[in-house]
Symmetry: C2
Subunit: 188 residues, 2 copies
């Protein structure tokens, strides 16, 4: 039943959920172990320590996200369409994975954030390239990728979070408006 892959996945899944709900420093390793159906000690076979577990989980989450996005991309479409489709996919992904959003935001705003290095052929890098193309085509403002992201991905996460927490309720119409807003922020 439980090979290594499964056990690691279980630990990841539980850690994500617990940290989303309780925060990093309120989720003891013992609780992670118990809810993963394993023991405290075993986690240290798979991960060096708690921090390593968190960093690994974040990497997992990020690559998973990029994979999901890439799967929705359609290179046939006009590049503007592609952007909007991807932003909508991103928004939907955040709405469908509330715990992931909470975890990601906590991690990326904590002082422990490691600047993770992406493998050259990773899906993340593919997405970056799309932005570079749009810049070259003079479709969007010639700004570094980090800034483009600040005006697109960042608001979309924040928006999904509002929705997930029930502070607002996003209608389909509002989602379209939101994607438009992102595009308007960066288009030339």
């Amino acid at each position: 039943m439980s090979n290594v892959k499964d056990k690691k996945k279980a630990i990841f899944r539980v850690t994500l959920k617990l940290i989303a709900k309780q925060g990093f420093h309120n989720t003891p390793m013992s609780q992670i172990a118990k809810l993963s159906g394993t023991s405290a000690g075993i986690i240290y076979h798979y991960f060096e320590n708690k921090e390593d577990l968190i960093h690994s989980l974040h990497y997992e989450v990020k690559t998973g996200m990029a994979q999901e996005l890439i799967s929705k991309d359609d290179p046939q479409l006009h590049i503007v369409k592609r952007f909007k489709l991807l932003y909508m996919a991103l928004l939907d992904y955040f709405i469908n994975n509330p715990d992931l959003v909470e975890f990601m935001l906590q991690y990326e705003n904590s002082p422990y954030e490691k600047k993770t290095m992406w493998k050259e052929d990773s899906n993340i890098v593919k997405l970056f390239n799309l932005i570079n193309i749009a810049v070259k085509d003079k479709l969007i403002k010639p700004l570094p990728i980090e800034i483009i992201s600040v005006f697109t991905a960042t608001p979309l996460v924040a928006l999904a979070k509002l929705h997930n927490k029930g502070i607002i309720e996003l209608t389909d119409e509002m989602k379209v408006t939101a994607v438009e807003s992102c595009w308007n922020a960066i288009k030339l």
Copy 2:
């Protein structure tokens, strides 16, 4: 020399800086006490406990920010100008107060965030009203304040953070572009 107000201020100042640098759970009360030039126990005269200290500090930070902003507002100007001026002021404020940005982001993305209630006449509320006016005047999209904020304040904090951490260097020109981007995201 040190009346109550001063001591509380000292505790706030030190807490802000330490949490910005080390994070909530890596900032022991003892360290806060030491660097505030006081003792561990005294903090518990001013605050119920560590959480209360954090919540109070966040309230302080938020009201301070709103006050700074309001002081830059010029009701004489056209409302579009007013918006852009305020966004620029906000961006500058974040750039000039990097620790504040770190603290705010950590707090607001932690599961401990309390939905703080603002006094009806607070500066925060005044700023909200400006948005409501712009909506009525059909200058910006008719979206709830929270969403407007997601497309303006949120990217600006994130942008300032990138700059403060040295990941990008914001030129004056880029700052203007950024403010434009915010406006483009919400304008009708």
